[in-house]
Symmetry: D2
Subunit: 327 residues, 4 copies
């Protein structure tokens, strides 16, 4: 993201943005300027210049994405799923209005079509206009952007249509509409049906540090495992989120070889990603080994998790500091 | 101050400006937008839109003046001194770059000339441009604005030149240049000399609540009392300063009748202030009685105060949340 | 309050207690130690050692009373009403479990009986035990402490029983039980009925600074004025409350002479208060003139106030940083 | 750590402890009670009960260790070094007064002697008394605790004395004494000399997230690599430190096989650690693979790092939220 105009505070430590990570834990970062602010039918949309994280995108005052580390988040969300698919051509993104997820998907030379469904046109227009790194993404001829409810749109697609489906949605928070997209019903009846043979689904899965990983990360894993023959959980620390973050990747038809070994992943990056490994800041074979080699605490929780999320037995998270683009 | 353009946060309670009132006491108010920001040779100058206090002017991140209550502060600073003088024509303002002090002075029909000396041209230009209520003040033909050190400029004036001298300066903080303007030397050698017969001097005198009034309010009173035959201390709560504020008014030749009774003050307001009492929001005879009728705690401290401030025995304040325009 | 034992943090600026004055304004003060903490059926009761205000009593985390300035609050609440009554013998306190209100009442030599009704036995016991300044108060033979609902108890008293009734209750906050005790119905049907001829009622009336005084201070004044022939409003800055505070004093049968002049008040203090003026830290004749001589902004609001508070048209305050002892 | 007595706040979100992670980034966690507090010649020592992290040990107000995740930190610090040594008998700990490092070391059945040198007797006594999990550690006959400067004590040991040396010291902060223990001189002249053949040195190395890892983590790695033939860097997220943390493990005589593969590490844990893998909460073979498989961003920084820390060219860190036990 490029430097933009706006009245800017020179002095650090004057203005603070406060995130409530939990009701007993807060994260405060200094703000230098308010670059842009709009209001949509769904949420307030803001771009701020901060001290520790550079430009940050806020929805309803919550950090969604920070210049300093959004590549780490989005590379983890996107590349493992596409690299584990033998030849991904059609990709569906639930949410993703910020554009960064599509940006990473479009780095894959095999991709012919990306359908991205976000409910908030204001967010999409705002990010197209103000996030310079994503400007080309919105102009890419392979991208079809639909402003609508992601679940409804996915439901209307032909069965077996997509090689990869990506869940870039808000966490399941109480009272929010997203919780349905983290249920066995959604995974079984919609996601699995719309995946082509060999298809891969990946979803962001909330905080995954040694203290918070049982909130939704392990239940989502368990839920996917009740639907898909193989699920790979992984996690990585994202500084601006003040915690590790988790993802779960599920294979429609199983995958003996998942997770890929380091050398294989590196080879696929070179072959498939435009500009090869130079295009990726964080992810490569060794990083992949690192984020999938889970520690004992998290593995034990995954093994012990019994909660399959359904419409009638959902689970909610405190809901701060999480992705909320589109639903 | 009129609404101005700028990216604005809709949601309350996201961005907080933190003032350190004391090292163990903080005042946080929400900020909606950063309207304007500049940097001078002396300080950062900022105008913010806040939740509780409307637009606020900050110097180096410290609140100087707030749309919500600056009239209370400036009416208390200016009108008592001018109303206690029989016929004020020439007024000198030490500091005051914000323009609000001059604005109140110029409401007095008798005033023919105001010399305002502020060290920071950027502050003066900034306030002339951005504080709509003060725009006319800077254009008033009776105002002479000099960008310089107030002490040096006052020293160079002819003796007996001014009917009223107003100290609208930063508090005496350690390491700051202003402490000299709160000393017996300054009052004796410069202020008293430059006052015409019957002249009145008034100075802001720092926080004056029941807990903080001995920091500088009572020492300034004692110091003035060592130079002038009659000194009237008074105080009023200013919400955005998070405390009561104090002023001391000194008479070159004594004044049997000071402080004026309510009815007398009201009469003078009607006779002398353009548009009469309608021009003043806070001050009138009864308000004047209220702010000069000090409680037992403060009176006892005033009586017991021994500290005469001199160049060699100054006293400093924590220095947050105080007036810092010009010196 | 005397120093008490407890693990204490030596370093300032580590632990902060946060009060939400308004939803866009916060007050943070450093805490050195947690001296005592209990839980009642109604609220959490805590005594903390703070940096700026010494020991403070908290109910549900909100500051009720601070060692540094509670005398200012309680002298303003109690002495004007008793001093304006010709010969107060019987006093009823609604709330007041902290004991400080009764402590001030009992300084009046004429007082023969004080009935204090607070709903929370834990608060009363806690304060008797831990607030050293109030220990003797709870042992005073003239004090009858009843643990119950103040409204119900007052209703059950004989008509014309009390010379002075004091409302030392929580502010009217939404969802709280206290709002009924700030209505025309309560004042008309209960308070006025229980006052003896010549009786005086006084109630704390919420924040009263130039910005906040219309929240409940002026409506309470208007409501009392619809019931009593004469009402005297007054206000004083209380540092630990981060604002001026207001009170309204009402006379059952009118009072030509209220408010008393300074000299009269001083005379009555000497004659009636045990140990005379030495017993009072803040209040005397001149202080009384100061706090009753209201400024133009507040007077204008009082004159323009139309809202009579009734059970069907109450008004609520944000409800932080206010007295909540007993209801 | 077991529940201890002390006045405790029931309500969450009242008292906040504020850590300055960077000057533009703060971490606030709620505090329920102050369990114990002492003052030593070197620092304030405090044990608090917090909302998100359970009991936490603070030195000079900075979090050193939290009940919720201290095992993660200390298992990462201790076990890799001991498990990579063929048969560790003698271990030296620089700092470590909290006792947790020694506790982990003493789980190794091969260990015959642990010399722990911490400068602050008060910290050691405090932790022995108040950290229940470490009480037995301080009584273990194999532990020799010396209160002194760690560098001076290590220097006085016989050359080749120790199989493993552990640096559990404060980060190199400006003005602090510890920076000398992060220099080439210390590693070359003292640490390497005191290691027995085949000896292993490990040191905590500051924050190591994708944003902060170049502060001291990569310079320490580069410095060790200028002295030792093989150095293994690794990192793990520690929630209470609000970042990933880094360690560097160095081999006196090189080690073809470091880092060990998962199966080998698991085998050694079973064979050498008392109670086997059951004794460890976080660490095992797969966790070890995860924390040593560094991502591209960190690897690139390690490769590009040129700064060898010496007495004349040290590097400092902001110094908050870091280990400061002993120096």
């Amino acid at each position: 993201m490029k430097e933009e105009k706006g009245a800017s505070l020179m002095g650090a430590k004057r203005l603070w943005l406060e995130e409530e990570i939990q009701d007993d834990l807060r994260w405060l970062y200094s703000v230098k300027s308010i670059l842009h602010a709009e209001v949509s039918d769904f949420q307030d949309v803001e771009l701020l210049e901060t001290g520790p994280f550079g430009k940050v995108l806020l929805l309803d005052g919550k950090l969604q994405s920070a210049e300093a580390d959004e590549r780490v988040y989005h590379e983890c969300l996107v590349h493992p799923a596409l690299l584990h698919h033998p030849n991904p051509k059609k990709v569906f993104i639930c949410g993703g209005g910020e554009g960064s997820t599509a940006r990473e998907v479009l780095k894959h030379k095999s991709v012919e079509k990306v359908v991205m469904v976000d409910i908030d046109k204001v967010v999409c227009d705002f990010c197209e206009k103000h996030l310079e790194d994503n400007a080309d993404t919105f102009k890419d001829a392979r991208l079809e952007l639909i402003i609508d409810d992601a679940k409804a749109q996915l439901e209307n697609q032909r069965d077996g249509e997509f090689d990869v489906i990506i869940g870039d949605l808000a966490d399941p928070v109480f009272g929010g509409p997203c919780y349905q997209l983290y249920t066995r019903e959604f995974y079984e009846n919609i996601v699995k049906a719309k995946l082509a043979p060999g298809g891969v689904f990946v979803t962001q899965s909330g905080p995954a540090g040694v203290l918070a990983h049982t909130e939704v990360f392990t239940p989502i894993n368990r839920t996917l495992a009740s639907v898909f023959p193989r699920v790979v959980p992984y996690l990585q620390h994202i500084p601006s989120f003040a915690d590790c973050w988790g993802w779960n990747m599920a294979f429609k038809d199983g995958s003996e070889q998942a997770p890929l070994e380091a050398a294989q992943l590196d080879k696929r990056i070179e072959a498939r990603v435009a500009e090869g490994s130079g295009a990726l800041a964080f992810m490569d074979g060794l990083a992949w080994v690192g984020i999938t080699s889970l520690n004992k605490i998290v593995r034990k929780s995954l093994e012990g998790e019994k909660h399959v999320l359904t419409i009638d037995s959902p689970k909610f998270i405190h809901g701060q500091g999480v992705k909320q683009v589109g639903f």
